[in-house]
Amino acid sequence: MSFEVQRPAPVPTDASGDVPEGPVDRRTARALGRRTWPQRLRVPSVHGIWRQPAVVVALVIVVGWLAVAAFATLIAPADPIAQSPDVYAAPSAAHPFGTDELGRDVLSRVLHGARLSLPLAFVIVLGSLAVGGLLGLVAGYLGRVADEVIMRVTDLFFAFPQIILAMAVSAAFGPSTRNAVLALILVSWPTYTRVIRSAVLSIRGSDYLAASRMLGVGPVTALRRDVVPNSVGPAVVLATLELGNAVLMLAALSFLGLGPRPPAPEWGAMIAGGSRDLSMWWVSVFPGLAILTVVLAFNVLGDALRDRLDPRHAKGLS
């Protein structure tokens, strides 16, 4: 055991020995005898999250799939929609994942599938975050009638199972990529509204917001400087978890024939193609594994982020 005396850090000086001008960090400021202001409430940080091996693996998987999506045309050994007489070829050196019922290379289709699923998942999440987040802010911050109306509408949406509503809407508007995305945004925004609203409500009841109001901070400024930044944590957690969900739901709609039109290499549609002949397992197994890895990676990341950012789950209560 050593008893080192904690000495204040030496005041950083430049070569001439003068004290630096302008803003310095708190310790320096204190050492210089300048006035220090209490810091703003610390938003919980994601520091140290990389020490969990699962998070590193998940991040590698996500980055890997993003790279595949970006460079699919360069990596893929074949054209994803080029048909060949070589139908239902088992996995081999020429076709590592085999070929499907039209002789298309399954590996190339799986790789190109990332170009559909990942960007569309981001669009779905951003779209529902924009709609749901905004409504959640309004409901939580304005309260009263706005809150009551918005929350009753979300109740209504929660009374429908997501997949049935999405199915009905995308079937009604006609099966296409755009309509599937719109249908999924339509069914997923209420989740964001609830989460953002409860985050806003907890901030609205906090002492420091009352303090800032007493200091004369206007409602709009408070919204911008305190309420919105403090709802970012829950929003990020939810969005990460929902990315996985969006990939799953999109695949489900495509599986039902309500997603991107054939011959687009969508993972769910590929699984549907493979379901026609069970003995040709490779046609549906590989796109399924693609979905599984992407969704699992997003879920692991979302879980880890929640442990960090959501105080209720801070003790690893997932």
């Binding site: 699962a54 009753r152 109740d155 209504l156 009374a159 429908f160 199972p161 997501q162 997949i163 049935i164 509503l165 199915m167 009905a168 809407v169 079937a171 009604a172 508007f173 006609g174 996985g244 799953l248 695949a251 489900a252 599986f255 039902l256 024939g257 309500l258 769910g268 699984i271 549907a272 493979g274 379901s275 069970l278 003995s279 397992w281 549906s284 197994v285 796109p287 399924g288 979905i291 599984l292 969704v295 699992l296 879920n299 692991v300 879980d303 789950h313 003790k315 690893g316 209560l317 997932s318």
Partner: protein, 358 residues
């Protein structure tokens, strides 16, 4: 934990207050549910109306569409030529009388169709739910007790994998393994083709076969049930286990558990009497939600196993733009969902006296 309000030795006036509290709580919940259901009818109606898809072009043949008279007759028959509020009013009064309309695809009443298909779905949904609650509670409690040790890590990873698996893909995989590779399971449907179905009483093949005393048929039906139930259970267990685990972790952290340990109660008694009991309260809520998500999970699973349930009916209705059927299914599922939620809320009041009073 009794169902009577907390009266004890209190004077009669207090007992009355408890009763009125309970009555007010229950009537408030029921009023909310009814309003929600009314909203659901508006919403199903609006979705069907707002869509650009045209029921006439979806249901009539090409030659019929070229004949304006046929199209007009079709529109008149389904009330498609009336103004919207009138259409909604007609729809609502019919629904309240139990008339959900005629399915444009099957040509039968939607209510009759639902009564045909719902038992098939319940036959796979109920056993899955039961299994999932039992397994989820046991595994979740195990993981919570072994918090952050190997067993807990395995459970955490396992449930995440379960959550991330597409149900339709899992169905195909188990079908490939148990039907194609091992040959121990039928490929789909409710009964083998050579079997004469038992007389229809409940609509659930296993129950009907048992009622008729035809145990060979019962066994065949159980074999057909096994794989869909396996898939649905797997997916629901993943959700429930995670929730039970975190609920139990929270309870294990409570002061009264520390007190129980401090006074020297054996660990088994603590788990059974205190942890499990307190932790099960939130689990009931989630089970209600999980049942709803299980119902929607059947849409995809029924598709793979050729199971003639509500899920398949919903899919066929949606892809055929069969409006009365879409509205009927949506209304039915929303009804189940709100009923389950109402049941959960009321059960909650019974189990947790604090909610009843507040």
């Amino acid at each position: 934990m009794t169902t009577t309000p907390p009266s004890g030795g209190a004077p009669a006036r207090d007992r009355w207050r408890g009763v009125t509290h309970a009555a007010r709580y229950i009537s408030r919940r029921i009023a909310i549910t009814l309003t929600l259901l009314l909203g659901v009818t508006v919403m199903t109606f609006l979705i069907v109306q707002a869509v650009p898809g045209d029921a006439a072009s979806a249901n009539l043949s090409e030659t019929a569409l070229n004949d304006p008279e046929v199209v007009a007759a079709y529109r008149a028959k389904w009330g498609l030529d009336q103004p919207l509020p009138v259409q909604y009013w007609v729809y609502l009064t019919n629904v309240l009388q139990g008339d959900l309309g005629i399915s444009q695809q099957t040509g039968r009443s939607v209510l009759g169709d639902l009564l045909t298909y719902v038992p098939a779905t319940l036959e796979i949904a109920l056993p899955s739910m039961l299994l999932a609650v039992v397994i989820g509670t046991a595994v979740g409690l195990y993981a919570a007790v072994h918090h952050d040790r190997t067993g807990d890590q395995v459970v955490r990873v396992g449930t995440l994998v379960g959550l991330s698996t597409p149900s339709f893909w899992l169905s195909l995989v188990v079908l490939y393994v148990f039907f194609y590779l091992l040959g121990v399971s039928p490929s789909g449907g409710r009964l083998s083709t050579w079997i004469v179905p038992p007389e229809r009483v409940t609509g659930m093949t296993t129950v009907d076969a048992a009622l008729a005393g035809r145990w060979d048929v019962w066994w065949d039906a159980v074999q057909h049930l096994a794989l869909p139930v396996l898939v649905l259970t797997t997916l629901t267990v993943a959700v429930l286990t995670r929730f039970v685990r975190s609920a139990m972790l929270e309870v294990l952290d409570a002061d009264y558990i520390r007190a129980a340990r401090a006074k020297g109660l054996p660990e088994r008694t603590i788990l059974r009497r205190h942890v499990l009991r307190a932790g099960l309260v939130p689990v009931i809520t989630v089970s209600g939600l999980a049942f709803a998500s299980l119902l929607s999970g059947t849409v995809l699973v029924e598709q793979i196993f050729g199971w003639p349930g509500v899920g398949q009916y919903a899919y066929r209705a949606a892809s055929g733009l069969d409006m009365p059927a879409i509205m009927g299914v949506s209304l039915f599922v929303a009804l189940v969902y709100t009923a389950v939620n109402l049941g959960v809320d009321l059960l909650y009041g019974v189990i947790d006296p604090r909610i009843r009073v507040s």
